[in-house]
C-alpha cells in the first residue's frame, strides 16, 4: 500500500528552525509543512504590505529558506507553507531569487492567491460579525485586513503542476497537510470520511513540537526525555488515511498516545464537528495505539461534507491597552501591593481617565486564576514575600492608556513603602473579527515562479 511521509517544520511564526532541518536531513520525508500564521499575524503583515508592497510575508522567510532550499533539492522534499502571510506572491519571488543566488536550478515555486478579499468587503457590510454584536458596516472604518480561510484546492493544483515549494496566505492550517495527501492519493473531494481523516492528520501536525512532547512535560507526572532538543513530528500516512505519528530517531521528545491525545483535542470544540473549508472532521471514534517507541497509530476519524460558507478573518483597529507594574517584597508585601493597587484605581478615577475595562492583578497570588481558585491553592496570602502589582486597562484614546502606567510609576514617590521595578507600556490593539461568506465568492489562483 502506498505510504507518504509528511513532516512538520514549524508550529508558529517564530518557531525554531533546527528541528525542521533535522527532519529534512534525516526524516526521509516526501513533504514538510511550515505553519507560521496566527490569526493576528496576517493583520500585522497586511499593515507591513501597505507600507511596502513587496513585504507582508513572514519575517523569517529568508532565514528559514536559507537552510531549507538546499535540503529541498538535495533530499527531494517538497515544502508547503503559509509563510506568504499577506503577500504569497512576493514570498515566491523572494524564494526564487534566493534559489538563483544559491545556484539552484529547476525549482518551481507556487504562490496560492485568492484568500485576500480586503478590496471586496463592501458587499458584505450587512453581514453579522461573529465576535461582536454588530454588522460589518459598524466597524468598516477600522478594518485593516480581510482574509478567507481557504482549503487545500490551491495546494493540490500547485502540486499537480509540479511545484516544489507551495506558498500560501490564509489557508486553514490542516489544509497544508491535506493538500499533499489529496494530491498523492487522489481521494475524491466528496469522500467525506477520508477527507475527515486527512483533516485530523493536518490538525495533529500543525503545531509541530506540540505532539512530540513540547508543551507537555510535567516533571514527575509527564516526563519528556531531552526536551531541550525536541524533535518535530512525522506522519506516515497510507492511502486509506491511517496514520502513524513518529519522529526522527535520536531526536529529543516523545511520541505517545498521551501526547497525541492532548494534541488531538487542542483547540477543538465539538469533537464530532471540527469545521474546515475542506470538510467537517469527526474525532468521536478515534482510537490510538502505541505500536513502538515513539510510534503511535491513529485510526477512526470520519467526516461530513464541506460547509457552504467560508470564514473570513478580519483585523481591525480596536483599542489601546495601558499597563503598569511594580514589585513589593518582604513581610506585608501583599498588603502593600494591595494598597498600591487601590491608590492607582482611585487616582485614575479622580483624574478622570477614561477606561473601558480595568484590571488589577497581584502576580504570585491571583493573576492567573483570580481569587476563588487562588484561595484554594494558596491558603495564606500573607506568606507571599514577593508580589508584583499589575494594573491594566483598555481605553479608546492613547493618552488615557499612557496615564495608567504613569500612575503606577508615581507610586515610587507617592505610594506604599519599598516598591521597586516599575515598568509601563501602551499597546495599540488590532483585534480579529469574523464573518462567513458564500464559498462560491472565492476564486483561487496559483501563480508560478521558476528558478
Amino acid at each position: 500500500m502506498k505510504t507518504i511521509r509528511i513532516g512538520s517544520g514549524a508550529g508558529y511564526a517564530g518557531d525554531r528552525l533546527e528541528p525542521a532541518v533535522e527532519l529534512m536531513e534525516k526524516g526521509n520525508l516526501d513533504y514538510i509543512i511550515f505553519e507560521c500564521l496566527a490569526e493576528r499575524t496576517i493583520a500585522i503583515a497586511q499593515e507591513e504590505k501597505l507600507k511596502n508592497p513587496d513585504k507582508g510575508y513572514n519575517g523569517l522567510l529568508e532565514y528559514r529558506m536559507d537552510k531549507v532550499l538546499p535540503l529541498c533539492v538535495e533530499k527531494k522534499v517538497k515544502v508547503i507553507t503559509n509563510m506568504g502571510a499577506a503577500n504569497p506572491q512576493s514570498a515566491a519571488i523572494v524564494i526564487k531569487k534566493m534559489a538563483e543566488e544559491k545556484g539552484i536550478k529547476g525549482l518551481k515555486i507556487a504562490a496560492v492567491l485568492g484568500d485576500d478579499i480586503y478590496d471586496k468587503i463592501d458587499k458584505y457590510m450587512d453581514y453579522d460579525v461573529l465576535e461582536l454584536d454588530a454588522k460589518l458596516k459598524d466597524i468598516k472604518d477600522q478594518v485593516i485586513s480581510a482574509n478567507v480561510y481557504i482549503g487545500a484546492d490551491g495546494v493540490v493544483e500547485a502540486l499537480k503542476n509540479g511545484a516544489d515549494i507551495v506558498v500560501t496566505g490564509r489557508i486553514a492550517d490542516p489544509a497544508l497537510v491535506l493538500g499533499p495527501i489529496l494530491y498523492e492519493f487522489g481521494w475524491d473531494s466528496e469522500d467525506h470520511e477520508k477527507i475527515g481523516k486527512g483533516i485530523m492528520i493536518g490538525h495533529l501536525l500543525e503545531c509541530a513540537g506540540q505532539i512530540t512532547g513540547g508543551y507537555f512535560a510535567d516533571p514527575g507526572y509527564k516526563d519528556v526525555p531531552e526536551l531541550w532538543k525536541l524533535g518535530f513530528p512525522i506522519a506516515e500516512i497510507n492511502e486509506n488515511g491511517e496514520v502513524v505519528i513518529t519522529k526522527v530517531d535520536g531526536s529529543g521528545g516523545t511520541v505517545t498516545t498521551q501526547t497525541c491525545k492532548e494534541q488531538l483535542i487542542y483547540e477543538i470544540h465539538d469533537l464530532t464537528a471540527y469545521v474546515t473549508p475542506d470538510g467537517i472532521a469527526d474525532y468521536s471514534d478515534v482510537t490510538m495505539e502505541q505500536i513502538g517507541l515513539d510510534r503511535v497509530e491513529i485510526k477512526g476519524a470520519t467526516g461530513k461534507k464541506k460547509p457552504d460558507t467560508l470564514k473570513v478573518s478580519m483585523g481591525y483597529r480596536d483599542c489601546y491597552i495601558g499597563e503598569g507594574e511594580m514589585s513589593y517584597g518582604g513581610s506585608g508585601a501583599y498588603e502593600r501591593a494591595k494598597l498600591a493597587g487601590e491608590i492607582v484605581k482611585k487616582r485614575l478615577e479622580y483624574t478622570g481617565v477614561n477606561i473601558e475595562e480595568f484590571r488589577i492583578d497581584y502576580i504570585g497570588i491571583n493573576s492567573l486564576y483570580k481569587d476563588q481558585i487562588s484561595d484554594a491553592m494558596i491558603r495564606e496570602r500573607s506568606v507571599c514575600k514577593e508580589v508584583r502589582l499589575r494594573v491594566s486597562g483598555r481605553t479608546a484614546e492613547r493618552m488615557d492608556a499612557v496615564k495608567i502606567g504613569n500612575e503606577v510609576e508615581a507610586l515610587y514617590t507617592n505610594g506604599p513603602a519599598g516598591g521597586g521595578g516599575a515598568t509601563q507600556g501602551v499597546k495599540e490593539i488590532v483585534s480579529i473579527a469574523s464573518i462567513f461568506i458564500p464559498r462560491e465568492d472565492i476564486k483561487i489562483e496559483v501563480n508560478y515562479e521558476e528558478a
Partner: protein, 99 residues
C-alpha cells in the same frame, strides 16, 4: 484527590472561547472523571474567570473529556487584559480541582 493525580490536560483558545481537555492516564479512571467532573462543577470552579456556558464533550475511546467554556478569555487573545491572554494556564487550574 486532585485531578492531577489521575489525568492530564491542555488548553486551546479560539476567540473568547477556551477549551480544556481532561485525559486520564489509565483508562479505568475514565468513568470516574465522567461521573465527577460535570459541567456544573467545572462552571463553579472557574466562575471568577468563565462568564459563559460550559459544555462537555466525551471521548470514551480515548479516556478524555473536552470542556468548552464560553466568554472565558476576557474578550479574546487580542483584547484581553489578562496576563495569560490565551488562558493557557487554565489546564493546570482544572487539574488542581479536588474530586
Amino acid at each position: 484527590m486532585k485531578l492531577r493525580e489521575i489525568a492530564h490536560s491542555r488548553t486551546g483558545d479560539k476567540g473568547n472561547i477556551s477549551n480544556v481537555s481532561l485525559i486520564v492516564f489509565n483508562e479505568e479512571d475514565y468513568r470516574l472523571i465522567e461521573e465527577k467532573v460535570t459541567t456544573k462543577v467545572v462552571k463553579e470552579w472557574f466562575k471568577d474567570i468563565v462568564h459563559g456556558e460550559v459544555k462537555r464533550y466525551e471521548l470514551p475511546k480515548l479516556g478524555a473529556l473536552n470542556f468548552v467554556m464560553d466568554k472565558a478569555l476576557g474578550g479574546g487573545v487580542t483584547r484581553s487584559l489578562a496576563l495569560d491572554k490565551h488562558g493557557k494556564s487554565l489546564s493546570a487550574a482544572l487539574l488542581e480541582m479536588e474530586i
